[in-house]
């Protein structure tokens, strides 16, 4: 018996080594690693914004308006003399917040809906999929625009608008996975043990379709951040004086000729963030051996 325990210990160690190997594979993928590093940097920005920002992001000093980048104001100042660098750093909180909130909400509900639809099949599936089709019949940004526009501007309406429009991607992805998993012999073998349907979904189906959901989720954070800033840019999302990148960009448009830095830097920050999540998502996708699919691309 002790012999066996010893052997099991060795086997477990091997398993761990194997896991490390997988991490190593991920590590070789420099895209993914640099993406994760960039995300880490962003998280630092968001958490320690007050420590990093050199100036008060809300402090207006009209005598300093539209200054070019300098040592005091690394990214210059905006039309009200606020420090753009500080505002950009604080903006991380908002964009990451929206991205994570929306993706958390949509991935969980979308996955649940997809599981239900795929496993139950029949009329329920038919109904859910037509619902998905209906939501997907609207170009994402347009539906979000209208919902946000009608709800009125603000953080919560942006989150709601994006959540209402972004769940179908997960539902479709998961349903597809479930349908192919359901035919696999191990699911049938599990059914022969006669557990509840819930048990099969939880133990046998969900673990096998979670990986693509994680990949999709990571890429979706990128999409959501772009969409949220687009809404704000159009004036339908987060409103000034809140330092949201899209709305900062918008306020710089009238000064594009004289002070392009006001629009340039917030945009750069959006790219940086979206890039980070796209990198990480793409790396995850590659190390999980998942193909580039339309779901993943279209989001």
């Amino acid at each position: 018996m002790t012999d066996m325990i010893e052997k099991i210990k060795i086997a477990k160690k091997e398993c761990l080594a194997e896991k490390r190997l997988n991490i190593g594979k991920f590590g070789k993928n420099w895209l993914a690693v640099s993406g994760l590093l960039l995300i880490a940097v962003l998280c630092v920005f968001a958490l320690f914004a007050p420590k990093i920002a050199p100036n008060d992001p809300f402090a207006q000093r009209l005598e300093n308006r539209l200054l070019s980048p300098s040592s005091e104001y690394p990214f210059g100042t905006d039309e009200l003399g606020r420090c753009i660098f500080s505002r950009v750093i604080y903006g991380t909180r908002i964009s990451l917040g929206i991205g994570i909130l929306v993706v958390a909400a949509t991935s969980v509900t979308g996955t649940a809906i997809g599981l239900l639809s795929g496993y139950r099949g029949g009329l329920l599936d038919e109904a859910i999929m037509r619902g998905v089709d209906i939501v997907m019949a609207f170009p994402n940004i347009i539906l979000a625009l209208v919902i946000a526009g009608l709800l009125g501007p603000g953080f919560s309406s942006v989150v709601l608008a994006l959540s209402l429009t972004h769940w179908p991607a997960y539902a479709r992805l998961v349903r597809g996975q479930v349908l192919s998993l359901r035919k696999r012999a191990f699911v049938e073998a599990a059914r022969a043990l006669r557990p509840s349907s819930f048990y099969i979904m939880r133990k046998h189906i969900l673990p096998n379709c979670i990986q693509p959901v994680i990949v999709l989720g990571t890429l979706e954070i990128a999409h959501v951040i772009i969409f949220a800033s687009a809404l704000s840019f159009l004036g339908l999302g987060i409103q000034p004086p809140v330092p949201e990148w899209g709305s900062m960009l918008k306020s710089g448009v009238p000064y594009l000729r004289t002070a392009p830095h006001v629009t340039f830097f917030p945009g750069l920050m959006i790219i940086f963030t979206v890039f980070a999540f796209n990198f990480a998502g793409d790396g995850l996708r590659e190390s999980s051996g998942q193909p580039v699919s339309q779901e993943v691309l279209a989001g």
């Binding site: 089709d133 609207f138 209208v146 159009l234």
Partner: protein, 313 residues
């Protein structure tokens, strides 16, 4: 095949019916009483209670919701999208008037995106894992990450304001097309290039490609006769979705470049709380999008002999 077409048609009509329902109920998302909101849009801030009540009766807003929906649906069937609450123009006429501008922008952008994406995607796939491939994919990942409103502004700053090569806004001449089409086209090109590459790499790894080589064909024949058709089928389906991107992206690009299309019309009506115009625009866009997806599906059925009866499965 006919069964497939019939099924697709049935599905599209279900979806469009659902779309009308969503569009109709979206109106109730706005906080407050619709009649009041409409009155605000129509008469401005100083309005009396009686004005609101007259409006409620005139617009049929006193009827139960489902009756209102059915009435509205009845109007839709007669292609009557109502009148603008602000300008009192006929909504459909207004939309059709703006359609050509949007359509032209969409076609131009699609051309730009395909001209960049297909060569880049195919080349990357064929030179898989080389510096060229990594470079292309890096640029395309960057392309996906650039918001088009920022790219648009950057292009305006560079080519319109600084170099003064192209106009920064407006519609009319060919020169006006360059910046908007490029803005909208590049972000789509990035996505399409990635899909093209992935799809071609997958196809080139299939056993039937090895089998084609085994028949003594040269690489060019293998690529064009055996790989391309299979590889481009998913890209084609994606073109349907891209049409949605185009319409969505048009909203932003049209706003930046003051392009007189449906996108700008929609944004303007949202700010004016012009309900019937919002409904009209969104409905029009959604129907257009659904029909384009239908067209792609049917095209797919013609091109792909395997045509599966439920492709979503």
């Amino acid at each position: 095949m006919w069964k497939y077409i019939a099924k697709r048609l049935a599905m599209v009509s279900i979806v469009i019916t659902g779309v009308t329902f969503v569009v109709f109920s979206a109106m109730y998302l706005a906080p407050g009483d619709p009649a009041e909101v409409i009155a605000l849009a129509r008469y401005g801030d100083d309005l009396s209670v009686s004005q609101i009540e007259t409006l409620r009766e005139a617009e049929g807003l006193d009827a139960p919701v489902h009756v209102q929906y059915l009435i509205w649906l009845g109007h839709l069937l007669r292609l009557d999208l109502g009148k603008s609450l602000v300008t009192s123009e006929d909504v459909l006429t207004e939309i059709l008037q703006k359609l050509p501008a949007t359509a032209e922008l969409a076609v131009a952008s699609l051309l730009v995106s395909l001209m960049i994406a297909l060569p880049a995607g195919v080349l990357s796939a064929l030179r898989k894992n080389t510096l060229l491939d990594s470079g292309c994919m890096f640029v395309s990942l960057l392309g996906v990450s650039i918001p088009n409103f920022w790219l648009g502004l950057l292009l305006i700053w560079l080519f319109a304001l600084t170099l003064q090569m192209f106009p920064s806004f407006g519609y009319g001449s060919l020169k006006h097309f360059v910046l908007p089409a490029f803005t909208l086209g590049t972000s789509m090109a990035a996505v399409t290039a990635r899909l093209t590459r992935a799809s071609l790499i997958e196809v080139m790894g299939q056993e039937y490609i090895v089998a084609a080589r085994a028949r003594g064909f040269d690489e060019g024949t293998v690529l064009i006769r055996h790989a391309m058709k299979n590889a481009l089928l998913p890209v084609l389906t994606f073109a349907g979705m891209q049409f949605g991107y185009l319409l969505g992206g048009a909203v932003i690009v049209e706003t930046i470049f003051s392009w007189p299309g449906i996108g700008k019309l929609l944004v303007d009506s949202i700010f004016a709380m012009d309900f019937s115009m919002i409904q009209g625009c969104v409905l029009f866009i959604a129907v257009l999008f659904s029909l384009s997806n239908l067209a792609v599906d049917l095209l797919y059925a013609v091109l792909d002999p395997r045509i599966r009866y439920d492709r979503h499965d």
